[in-house]
């Protein structure tokens, strides 16, 4: 019984990780570097959503939209003016640049909002018990939001012109270029979308807990673990990876002290990558 409850808890934790992990993996697919700035953009989105919700009294769903827009816009601007020039210098340089950027942005948030914890204006609900497993209505709500976002992203990638172009650039930039797809436009859109998803992810995390300038940074490694376990560059992989990481961390309580929890995510990475070096759903050559 405890196992089932732990798995349920893992699914709840994982479904929140999935949204920013999709953003991260989509950016990786097109731009080809691990973007550590996702941490600060998640924080920025969380604070934008908080401003809309707690200061301006907007309900949660429109506030999530604000988180998406602000996260996305900051993502677009910082990628254009800060990270893009690094890209020709290689992926590690760009990744290091994004780490330095994330410190800067975290402190922009700190400068304006201070360090105090902030909570969203949202009544808390007690868990409901389904077949002996207790789950939170807010967590179910979050899962629904995550699933809806995943569906939208899949739909966008599969059915729209821009989505197809994005996949083409991800598959083969040279070929896409020949076909007349502007890789720069695709890059901008994926930056907006990826960081917008990070913004939503930051706010979803905040709905569960509370927010402060370190919110995104605390979640960064699990988000990366999710994207890597699932296979960098694979959107369905990010979802699978998030669930694997979420569930593995909770299940670790059965065998290890709780203080070892996050090392399990790394163990999961190591085990899965040793068996499948490209991640669960990643493709060879990525």
């Amino acid at each position: 019984m405890e196992i089932l409850q732990l798995i349920a808890n893992g699914v709840m934790a994982g479904s929140i990780l999935a949204v920013p992990a999709i953003g991260l993996t989509a950016m990786y697919a097109v731009l080809r570097f691990p973007n550590f700035a996702i941490a600060s953009h998640a924080t920025a989105g969380a604070f934008a959503g908080w401003t809309a919700n707690a200061l301006f009294g907007l309900p949660i769903l429109p506030s999530l939209l604000v988180a998406l827009l602000v996260g996305g816009l900051i993502g677009l601007v910082t990628d254009e003016f800060v990270l893009k020039p690094f890209r020709k210098a290689g992926f590690i340089t760009t990744a290091i640049g994004s780490l330095a950027l994330t410190i800067g942005l975290e402190n922009v948030v700190r400068l304006f909002y201070g360090n105090d914890l902030r909570g969203y204006d949202l009544p808390l609900a007690r868990d409901i018990v389904v077949a002996g497993i207790h789950v939170g209505p807010q967590q179910l709500h979050n899962i629904a939001i995550s699933v809806a976002i995943m569906a939208l992203v899949f739909g966008f990638l599969t059915f729209t012109r821009m989505g197809k172009a994005m996949r083409a650039v991800a598959d083969n930039p040279q070929l896409a270029d020949i076909k007349g797809i502007d890789a720069r436009t695709v890059g901008r859109i994926v930056s907006f979308m990826g960081m917008g998803l990070a913004g939503i992810g930051g706010m979803l995390i905040g709905l569960d807990s509370s927010i402060d300038p370190m919110t995104g940074f605390r979640a960064m490694l699990p988000i990366f673990a999710a994207a890597v376990v699932g296979g960098l560059g694979s959107v369905p992989g990010a979802v699978v990876g998030a669930l694997v990481v979420g569930i593995a961390e909770e299940l670790s309580l059965l065998a290890l002290p709780a203080s070892y929890k996050s090392s399990i995510a790394f163990l999961a990475i190591l085990v899965i990558l040793t068996l499948r070096p490209q991640g669960i759903l990643g493709r060879e050559g990525n």
Binding site: L101, I103, F266, L273, Q278
Partner: protein, 314 residues
Amino acid sequence: MEIYILSISIIACIYAIMALGLNVMWGMAGLVNLGLVGSMAVGAYTSALLTTSAGVSIPLGILAGIVAATLFGAVLCLITSRLKEHYLAIVTLGFAEAIRIVASNEIWLTHGTDGISGIPGPFRGTVTTFQYNLIFLAIVAVIALAVYVFCQRILYSPFGRVLHAIRDDEVVVGVAGKDARVFKVQAFAIGSGIIGLAGALYAHYTSFIAPELFVPLITLYVKLSLLAGGVGNNRGAILGAGLVIIILEGTRFLVPYIPYITPPQGAAIRELLLSAGLLIVLRYRVKGLIPEAHDHLTVRPAVLAEAALRRQPA
């Protein structure tokens, strides 16, 4: 004032040694490692534990720290040898975090989050604080110089040339009949050992270590040191470390001149300046202060190697 400058110079030398170690694995052999703080921790903990609990002398302790970190590097490289470099970035980062978690939890061995205090330093307590800092700076500067000479020797040795070849095109090395994996493990182990040495020196200088010391931020600083100074270049590694420390410490003195802010805002602005400073250095010195080509070795910069790797269909 003098002690402050001495102390900051010591830290700069320790960063420089780490940047030199990173250069062996990354600059010379093109091996990605975002977890170098893990090697630092292994070196620091080994030397600290042996000198405090087992009564080992400081030089022997440091030597053991180097050996332990070298072994750690070799094992890490073997475990991750099948992984693609983009994955390596995350896996090594995670590995270093795991080291920190183990150090926090295995209290019987590491004293847990309490940390280890009272780690001896050369002549500490028998000389004045000024003299102690002066002596330590001399020691650490000589060691940094020795590591520099050692790394230069590697760079121009046949071994170094194989590393360059691996970095530029691993397949060619295989065709030439060399087992690239053996060379990679060696490079990673040597680099890790040098970083472990820096960790041990840090432990003996400050006399205290704890798991919270070994956070990814230090990896970032060292990475930036090497990037700023020039990847693949040993002189650049030293220069870059100095530059990073100047940015880290210099921002401290700028903030009090900004009017109308509270100290917490000042702290945020300082980190903002730090981030901007590092990004600007990175942006305008992407090839490093001293480009690798000046070393008269006709090798392409690491960045091109990366591009080459990325082009290859695996």
